[in-house]
């Protein structure tokens, strides 16, 4: 239909495998925390072994039941959620969920959080020294819990101290998941980088609200929830680009509204070394493998041989006087 340039190279020759700090990922496409549970449900629909990795639902030391309902609603190009970090807790995770994940042979990122310093550190210690966990993704950014969560993610000094404390007790590298609700992501990234974080994930959801005018009340019970989906992609790309431009050596895992291989490539070109796919999994359990296929085909079309070659390297706009050739 549309004239597409024929592929510049054979898609099979594209090397998706890539490095993320000390990690070797077989693909830059990972499943995002909270959008893939602990992986099992997807096995019925798709081949999980094709993923670059899986980030689990955020784990806390003790199980959590989550927030009152309704917990979700849809908005234009996005959705709000206020799940409240419901999870099975460290113990049940290690016992019931990790064995399945470890079996898959893909990189396992355990997203975790606490409600204060001691519980964060406790969690990092319990999870960070277990074989088969490749990354601890330190969630300092969840807007849906009352204590902890957001304050840890908005004050650089606090994030620095928290990250350092977790790094000290964990053998697994720590990747800090930053919140877009912070004023200055570059300052936050700097703070956690200096505290020993191996990398950063961005972005988490953005705090938002929707109102049911007929019932004159918020659409979700907690009034505010986290906005995800394509609506936030431009904001996420900007934040990834800002941090990548400032700290070119800091591994960034980018996310926010990825639905297609082209979206994923936008994040890589913005400077992310790998990406996570969140909300897309809900509508389409096979979203991650499809996006992986699309990315491979697009890289072939654009003659990008390896994932590393896709990262960063945006061309600036030429001076206006030369713009006629765009």
């Amino acid at each position: 239909m549309t004239h597409r340039s024929p592929s510049a190279r054979d898609p099979a020759s594209v090397e998706l495998a890539c490095e993320f700090g000390p990690l070797r990922l077989q693909s830059p496409i990972l499943a995002a925390s909270g959008c893939f549970a602990y992986g099992q449900q997807f096995a019925a629909f798709t081949d999980l072994r094709a993923l670059g990795g899986i980030s689990t639902k955020g784990i806390s030391p003790l199980p959590r039941h989550g927030n009152p309902l309704p917990r979700i609603c849809e908005t234009a190009g996005g959705m709000l959620n206020s799940i409240g970090l419901e999870n099975v807790g460290v113990e049940a995770f290690l016992r019931d969920k990790l064995p399945f994940l470890r079996e898959l042979g893909v990189s396992v990122w355990v997203n975790f959080f606490g409600t204060d310093f001691p519980t964060y550190i406790d969690c990092a210690r319990s999870l960070g020294n277990v074989p088969g966990i490749d990354v601890l993704e330190l969630n300092i950014s969840c807007p849906n819990i009352k204590h902890g969560g957001i304050e840890f993610g908005t004050v650089p000094e606090v994030a620095h101290r928290l990250t350092r404390a977790c790094v000290e007790v964990s053998a697994a590298p720590i990747v800090v998941k930053l919140t877009p609700n912070a004023a200055d992501n570059v300052a936050m990234a700097d703070a956690v980088r200096q505290a020993g974080a191996m990398g950063v994930s961005l972005i988490n959801t953005i705090t938002g609200m929707a109102i049911d005018v007929r019932r004159r009340r918020p659409r979700i019970a907690t009034a505010y929830g986290g906005l995800s989906g394509p609506a936030i992609k431009p904001i996420a790309l900007r934040m990834v680009h800002q941090v990548a431009t400032r700290f070119p050596d800091l591994p960034i895992c980018g996310m926010g509204g990825i639905l297609s291989g082209e979206d994923a490539l936008e994040f890589l070109m913005a400077g992310a070394r790998c990406v996570q796919v969140g909300t897309a999994n809900f509508a389409e359990p096979g979203a991650c493998p499809r996006i992986t296929r699309e990315l491979r085909a697009l890289m072939a079309e654009l003659d990008i041989a390896r994932t590393a070659d896709a990262v960063g390297g945006l061309h600036p706009w030429p001076p206006e006087a030369e713009m006629h050739d765009r």
Partner: protein
């Protein structure tokens, strides 16, 4: 029966009056939805681009081989778009999902209590029972605002399932709510030590009333619930249902949508 995601095309979109419509879909090959139990559901999504991300849940009205049908009514933005679908339009289907109602039982009378778009699970239960020669073990209690709100009645008649209708304006059946028709039947069952159970699906206020009645009469009451769903297969944790017991919530999509009325944490 394990679930699958597959592509299908609209083969018919039939307006039934009262705003209701049935959407018939066909895939290229037989699908696991053909094995759906009454109360199981599918997640449907049209070619909605990036505006509407999540599919919508619909009870299976009927499914056979590569075909399936649902009953719906325009409600929000998604069902309004579905109302406008035309033959040939594509849809993505995931299903069958959830746990449905128990099989019809020759020794038990199923009181099927339906309202609005809650009809499909009970319609399918009646269909299954009729196919098993158990039509006389099914009784439909079906309520709505007016006679437009009561659809697909001819099917129950054809299967030989007795239908007790109630409309708020009295335009069809008895005047009043469906619970008004149900209450004396429950009293009678209790008096006669008859083995009955309630299978119900419909608007939440109706389910709450049915639950109160069922509990009051000590009759087994199974409710097919609706919650906002993003995924339908247990990963988003959006569809929590408040329950009594150790944990405060269970999940509509994987633990339900059919729940025992006693379990549900309603007043």
């Amino acid at each position: 029966m394990s679930a699958a995601q597959f592509e299908a095309r609209v083969t018919a979109n039939t307006r039934l009056g009262g705003g209701y419509f049935t959407l018939e879909l066909e895939a290229d090959a037989p699908t696991p939805v053909a094995g759906a139990r009454p109360g199981q559901f599918v997640m449907l999504r049209g070619a909605w681009g990036r505006e509407l991300l999540n599919p919508r849940a619909f009870s299976v009205l009927h499914a056979e081989g590569s075909r399936l049908a649902i009953l719906a009514k325009p409600y929000g933005v998604g069902t309004r778009r579905m109302w406008a679908l035309r033959p040939g339009d594509p849809m993505t289907v995931t299903g069958p999902l959830g746990r449905g109602f128990p099989d019809p039982d020759p020794d038990v009378r199923d009181l099927l209590v339906a309202g609005g778009v809650g009809l499909p699970p009970l319609h399918l239960q009646a269909r299954v029972a009729a196919a098993a020669g158990l039509a006389d073990r099914q009784e439909l209690y079906y309520g709505g605002r007016d006679h437009h709100d009561l659809v697909l009645l001819h099917d129950f008649a054809a299967w030989g399932v007795a239908a007790h209708l109630a409309t708020e304006d009295g335009s069809l059946g008895v005047r009043g709510r469906v619970t008004a028709a149900l209450a004396p039947r429950l009293a009678q069952a209790r008096a006669n030590h008859e083995r009955v159970r309630i299978l119900s699906c419909g608007p939440t206020p109706m389910l709450a009333a049915v639950r109160t009645l069922g509990l009051a009469h000590g009759i087994e009451t199974l409710l097919c619930l609706e919650e906002n769903m993003a995924c339908g297969f247990g990963v988003c944790l959006g569809c929590a249902v408040p329950v009594h017991g150790e944990k405060p919530y269970r999940y509509c999509c994987t633990d339900g949508p059919v729940f025992d009325a006693r379990e549900v944490r309603w007043p």
